[in-house]
């Protein structure tokens, strides 16, 4: 029984220009203790699908799913109060912008203790003690002093550590980290990632890591899901994905990845992700795909079986990744 199980998740936003489908039929599963990386270009619906699972989208969003269970509980028809017992305790999330993700009017100590007060039965003194422990765990030097600091008095890296301390405060079974290092200095990025993977290993919690960084994916993930324009186009164990990508988009991403380069951002491939008003018929990747034919341009591609990486493609690739993929 998977820890998180999402089947056929779709999210529509009501926008000024009509309804916009940001996530379209995405499946996500995470096992206990597993590290799942979600990669994809900007706007591919990585954040939105995770926020949908957490129930954190604004009211303009309509979320539908055939299945949305966490730890055996169906999140779809959980009452708000029952949901609050799960969110923040068993599943926690950290975000891309540590600076704006913390409340500027409260000290970081207050914000960590608040998470403890919400879910655990600890008295004041115990909460403070636990908050200090947590701050120590996430590598905040001189926690006693930092307890009373406001977010604007700390650096981005420190604030992200505070966010992580808050997220792991109640010992979650699953942590969702949405590009946790994108807003940070390069030197800090590695530290935060080490911290996250260390915590994941020690606590044996599930981790969903949304990232642009294929290097990070290769180093940390057990399994990778690739998203494109609101679709999940491929899902494979990390080794297999790097060796034999089945979806042309994944193959193009890997082919464009400079071998052992220092540039670790997600490589660019020609063309742009379709937006709200230029969605092609058939396969969403067809305008950029080297293998596209008339069938691709007219009919929606099926989802291939697990042996083919659940690739959402008419013509999944079979051979190991080579240069010809592009």
């Amino acid at each position: 029984m998977a820890l998180l199980n999402i089947r056929n998740l779709s999210v529509d936003f009501a926008t000024g220009g009509g309804s916009f489908r940001a996530v379209d039929g995405v499946d996500v599963t995470v096992e206990a203790g597993e590290v799942l990386a979600i990669v994809g270009e900007s706007g591919s619906g990585k954040s939105v699908s995770m926020l949908a699972a957490m129930g954190l989208l604004p009211w303009t969003a309509t979320v539908t799913a055939d299945e949305l269970t966490f730890d055996g509980k169906d999140l779809r028809n959980l009452s708000p109060s029952a949901r609050r017992k799960v969110i923040g305790r068993d599943v926690a999330m950290i975000f891309q912008e540590p600076m704006s993700s913390l409340n500027p009017c409260f000290t970081v100590g207050f914000q960590i203790r608040e998470a403890l007060a919400q879910h655990l039965n600890l008295d004041r003194a115990a909460r403070k003690k636990r908050a200090l422990e947590l701050m120590e765990m996430v590598g905040i030097p001189a926690p006693e002093k930092r307890l009373n600091a406001f977010p604007h008095q700390l650096s981005g890296g420190m604030n992200q550590r505070v966010m992580i301390a808050m997220a792991i405060a109640c010992g979650p079974k699953l942590l969702i980290a949405d590009e946790p290092t994108t807003a940070l200095d390069v030197t800090i990025q590695a530290q935060i990632l080490d911290l996250l993977t260390g915590l994941q290993r020690d606590a044996g919690m599930g981790l969903i890591l949304i990232t642009h960084d294929m290097g990070v994916v290769a180093e940390t993930a057990h399994r990778v899901a690739v998203q494109y324009a609101g679709w999940k186009v491929e899902d494979q164990p990390v080794k297999d994905l790097f060796q034999t990508p089945h979806h042309p988009y994944t193959a193009a991403l890997l082919a464009a990845l400079p071998e052992r380069a220092t540039e670790r951002r997600l490589p660019t491939i020609p063309g742009v992700v379709p937006g709200q008003f230029d969605r092609p018929q058939g396969c969403l990747f067809s305008p950029r795909c080297a293998f596209a034919d008339d069938r691709c341009r007219s009919t929606l591609p099926p989802v291939q079986p697990p042996e083919l990486g659940r690739a959402r493609c008419h013509y999944p690739l079979m051979a190991p990744a080579t240069e010809e993929a592009q």
Binding site: P58, K85, V86, S100, L102, N103, C105, F106, Q118
Partner: protein, 336 residues
């Protein structure tokens, strides 16, 4: 914080001198000679007129008059009323508690209703509550105060007979007023029913005076809340599994209060201006009514001094608001 305070005090002083000049000029711009007004219907001889002119210093050049006034003010001497011959200072302090009591009740009412109304509207954005509250706010904001007061008087005092029409206290009661606040003095007097009478007299003027600030505060709270509710840290608060009242009432409201506090500070000026009208309608014996009467009598020292003191009160309130602002916004408080 100290430097912050110091710069505020410097601004305070400059504004003070400016207000002295404006209050001095204001009453002199209005046509009408105070001495002739004083003489009334009877008129007076030319010699008597000149004698009085000399006595009050009106024969001096304006600049000299202003200089005398300014040096007087800086020594704490605001002059005497032409009409009552009592020091302006004494009259002000005799009447100010009535205005302060009314204004405090009004601002408390406006805050106590306006902030929750704004929060409820923002949380229910676009739904029934939001629309109902914001349409009422718009009506309250644009309603002519005079008309609104008369309407309330007709309904509650006239038709229903629930509230008195004017004044601060029923005629049956008489007691000393050591604090000048009728709510406190009536309690101290120990007379049966005096406190109730004080409250009944306060209700309508308070509602009338609170209406505009209430509407302004509700609208500002709503828009500040809407802005704050889309911030990342609200998403974080929700991700922690906090209860909605804690997210809206603590995490969001605390941030939304920063602009709201500013608006409350600004309302105090509006409130004192509104007090002039409200006090006149309800014959409320405060400085508003005092000022209006004095303008009609061309009682120069009272108008000058009264305006100046009202301005000082507004400035002090704004100073307090500025400091509150620093207290509530840690980014300002902790600035080096």
């Amino acid at each position: 914080m100290l430097r912050f305070l110091f710069s505020r005090l410097a601004t305070f002083f400059v504004t003070f001198v400016g207000v002295t000049l404006i209050s001095f000029a204001f009453i002199r711009v209005i046509p009408g000679d105070p001495i002739i007004v004083m003489a009334g219907e009877r008129g007076m001889s030319q010699e008597r007129y000149e004698e009085l002119s000399r006595q009050y210093g009106f024969d001096q050049p304006l600049l000299t008059q202003f200089w005398d006034y300014l040096t007087g003010v800086l020594q704490g001497d605001l002059g005497q009323s032409f009409v009552t011959k009592k020091p302006v200072w004494d009259e002000f302090f005799a009447l100010f508690p009535a205005t302060l009591e009314l204004s405090l009740c009004a601002i408390i009412l406006a805050i106590a209703l306006g902030i929750p109304a704004g929060v409820i509207a923002a949380v229910n954005r676009g739904k029934f509550f939001d629309r109902a509250l914001m349409s009422s706010a718009l009506v309250g904001y644009s309603m002519p105060i005079f008309w609104w007061a008369l309407l309330l008087i007709i309904v509650f005092s006239g038709n229903l007979g629930w509230t008195p029409v004017s004044g601060r206290m029923g005629l049956l009661y008489y007691f000393p007023t050591p604090t000048g606040f009728m709510l406190i003095d009536s309690l101290l007097s120990g007379q049966d029913g005096a406190f109730t009478s004080a409250i009944r007299h306060l209700i309508l003027p308070t509602i009338v005076l609170a209406t505009i600030p209430l509407a302004v505060i509700a609208r500002q709270t709503r828009s500040a809340m809407l802005e704050v509710l889309s911030e990342d840290y609200i998403r974080t608060a929700r991700a922690k599994g906090l209860k909605p009242w804690r997210i809206n009432g603590l995490h969001a409201l605390r941030n939304a209060m920063i602009p709201v506090i500013t608006v409350i500070g600004l309302s105090v000026g509006t409130l004192l201006a509104g007090a002039i009208l409200t006090e006149t309608i309800f014959s409320w014996p405060g400085i508003g009514k005092w000022m209006v009467d004095s303008i009609f009598r061309r009682d120069y020292p009272v108008v000058q001094g009264g305006l100046l003191l009202v301005a000082v009160v507004v400035m002090i309130v704004n100073l307090i608001v500025d400091m509150l602002y620093g207290l509530i916004n840690p980014r300002i408080r902790t600035r080096k």
